[in-house]
């Protein structure tokens, strides 16, 4: 398994290089540049700026400069947030996005798995219908709307939680954003869990376990949960990356200092450095998550073997 993991890590390097190259050039195909704002800059100022960021050089040189820096761990400067390197912006924002996403991930996964199991056991009874309803609400309402609604209800009308902002170490400020993020995630997980649990509960080995006189709890704990989790686990990797990238609307509505907003604003501002930097970061996260998920399979499913 170790050598398998090692090979997977090695194979990530060419993937990363291809992704960086494609991203770099596609970005430059888009019309407009980082200094095309509402007002035209005088040509000498523009020339100064372009020289400052090496944009006056041929594209291919810029590419090699970028890759060279990248290999030294330097993501370059931001062109719009001046005075900040891309690495530093990520260093400030990413831990926050990670906190938000991981909190939502843990809570949503736990709730989703439990709720899915509960619904499966009570199939087509009222707890099942209540769950379906809650899931639908979470999945149907887009998160920017959900964020605004929760902000209005719990922040303005009820005043139970802060309507936004961030105070270091204050969990109260996290409640609403985490709820918005976690809800649809929990919904998807509970549906997966419900479906696979129903399937597992109808399978032959569960019938055997029941037939040999095991109590329902033991059947669930020893025989049903583990195989039922397999589809859920395969969703967890994409699910977490979805939470990480999906934090944009939540961060914007609640005014949180994460990096989600850079995905959109940096692309619109043609802030080449940030777009590439965040893309590379997420590429590595997704590669890593996929690897972890694949390894977890081996533990869950005895049929999976790595060579």
């Amino acid at each position: 398994m170790l050598s398998y993991a090692f090979r997977r890590v090695l194979s990530a390097i060419p993937i990363a290089l291809i992704a960086v190259t494609v991203c770099f050039f596609i970005l430059r195909l888009a019309p407009g540049g980082p200094f095309d704002g509402e007002r035209a800059l005088p040509p000498n100022v523009l020339a100064n700026l372009r020289a400052h960021y090496n944009l006056d050089q041929p594209l291919i040189n810029q590419y090699f400069i970028y890759v060279w820096r990248l290999l030294h761990g330097d993501l370059g400067p931001s062109m719009v947030v001046e005075g900040f390197s891309v690495s530093r912006l990520i260093a400030i924002g990413f831990p926050f996005t990670l906190t938000l996403a991981l909190t939502a991930f843990v809570i949503a996964t736990a709730i989703g798995v439990l709720a899915g199991m509960f619904a499966a056991v009570n199939q087509n009874k009222w707890p099942d219908y209540v769950l379906v309803l809650l899931v639908m609400v979470g999945v149907i309402i887009p998160n920017f709307l959900m964020a605004a609604l929760l902000q209005l209800w719990f922040g303005v009308y009820l005043g139970w939680f802060p309507a936004g902002g961030w105070v270091t170490g204050s969990w109260m400020h996290l409640v609403l954003p985490v709820t918005v993020l976690a809800w649809p995630h929990a919904g998807r997980i509970s549906r997966l869990m419900r479906g696979s649990m129903i399937e597992v509960l109808g399978s032959n080995y569960v019938r055997t376990a029941r037939a040999k006189g095991l109590g329902e709890r033991l059947v669930m704990a020893r025989h049903a949960i583990k195989p039922a989790l397999i589809p859920v686990v395969s969703y967890l990797g994409p699910g977490l990356s979805y939470l990480l990238t999906g934090s944009l609307a939540v961060e914007q509505v609640f005014g949180l200092p994460g990096i989600g907003k850079y995905f959109v604003t940096a692309a619109l501002n043609r802030d080449y450095g940030i777009v590439l930097g965040t893309t590379i970061l997420y590429m590595f996260i997704i590669l890593a998550l996929n690897l972890i998920v694949d390894l977890v399979y081996a533990w869950l499913d005895p049929k999976v073997r790595y060579r």
């Binding site: 100022v45 400030i92 902002g165 005014g255 949180l256 990096i259």
Partner: protein, 537 residues
Amino acid sequence: MKITTAMKAVTTAGALALMMSSAASAVTLQMHNGGDPGSLDPHKVSGDWENRVVGDYIEGLVTEDAGANPIPGQAESWEISEDGTVYTFHLRDEAMWTDGTPVTAGDFVFAFQRLFDPATASDYAYLQYPIKNAAAINSGEITDFDQLGVKAIDDKTLEITLEAATPFFLDALTHYTAYPVPKHLVEEYGDAWIEMENIVANGPYKIVEWLPGSYVRSEKNEDYYDAENVQIDEVYYHVLEDQAAALNRYRAGEFDILTDFPSDQYSWMQENIPGETHVEPFLGIYYYVINQEVAPFDDVRVREALSISILRDVIGPDILGTGELPAYGWVPPGTGNYVDNAYAPEWASMSYEDRVARATELMTEAGYGPDNPLDLQLRYNTNDNHQRIAVAIAAMWEPIGVNVELFNSEVAVHYDALRAGDFQVGRAGWLLDYNDPSNTLDLLKTGIEQDGTMNWGNNYGRYSNAEFDALLDQASSEQDLAARGQMLADAEKIAMDEFGAIPIYWYVSKNVVKPYITGFEDNAKDVHRTRWLTKSE
């Protein structure tokens, strides 16, 4: 022994209690500030959200009063030479950076040299081009920075020489491009002088924390010369671009001041939080540019027809909902150094039916009609308000025989196309950098030829009129303000009579201020320095 220990304990407790009580009564202002500052360095910033932060912690020679008029700042007085080209400023003796270093004329000389240094690549350096040799240094033509017209006579006396008399120069000095930077720190740390561990202030506030994406926090600068009159002890400048979310947080009591709000909430706000909304004329113009290099828009009849058939009165009150005033001229009302009788074309007072009839006639003369409609592409940058206005205007143009195709793109693409001349009619806007008519009229000045190509700058429609250009040039060296104002007014009339662009409405500033905040004076520049505000709990 015991008694002294007890007394110590009592005094310590007392001191603690005192500290706590003073901490509890500290007044904190929670200000919604919109965008995330790109920098805190006055030479690198370019937005009004950055100006709010930077203008509170650094003060220039001249600063703004509560109504945003220029008043003495770090300079307590100045003299202007007879011909209006040499300004001599006398710095305050108390002017001090927060690390205890005095603010000297040398800091200003250093700051201006840094501003124009091509290596600094400052976006807004051109605002201070009235200073002698500034443009030449900024473009790299002159490499000897000592030739810049900013000289230190002694530590507390600064002399600024201009290219020519500039009536708005004092106003331009309130802009952050004219702020000093601490020479001793910039020399030591370079651009990293704005890092939290290095940064100093000479204004009423000092920055203590910056969390990108969330807020900047400043505290009152006790060493500021006017500190005794500064009421707010601490300011949070919150980053929040989502206007609906900002309004929610204002309603939840988390913000004391909103610097923008969603237009569609305006009527609700007027009813439910009456008196808190401040919608005021603001020095800026929303307009459409017409590409006069392509047919048929080089035909003044077509431009006139397009302009007069727009019913501007409905745009502010009905389409936007915030009551922006219709614009028929090019210089916003309230702009300084101007004539009193603003430009008002004859057609503006005609009934709308007559205007449409006249426009149809003009289109027929130009060869267009119901059988032969003019197909036109209207470009705007993606935004709900721009879209609503474009849709409305397209409908107003339909009766005069114009088929409009709407085309929207994101900001960078939009302005790239405008600059390249790759459009027919396009949306644009301009907020004045300084309170002078030349700042908008320059938008219609003929481009300059550089290295064989024309550089049209912000004149996207490429309007060109020799007489207009001559009047602007003449005005730039005219010292008699009244005569200068008249020249500029004549120029405005020429450009508007030729429909060099289509003015649509004058911008308004949209602030929302809690009733317990006082000292918030509405002004056309929309600058409200925190030092003038008070908050009563």
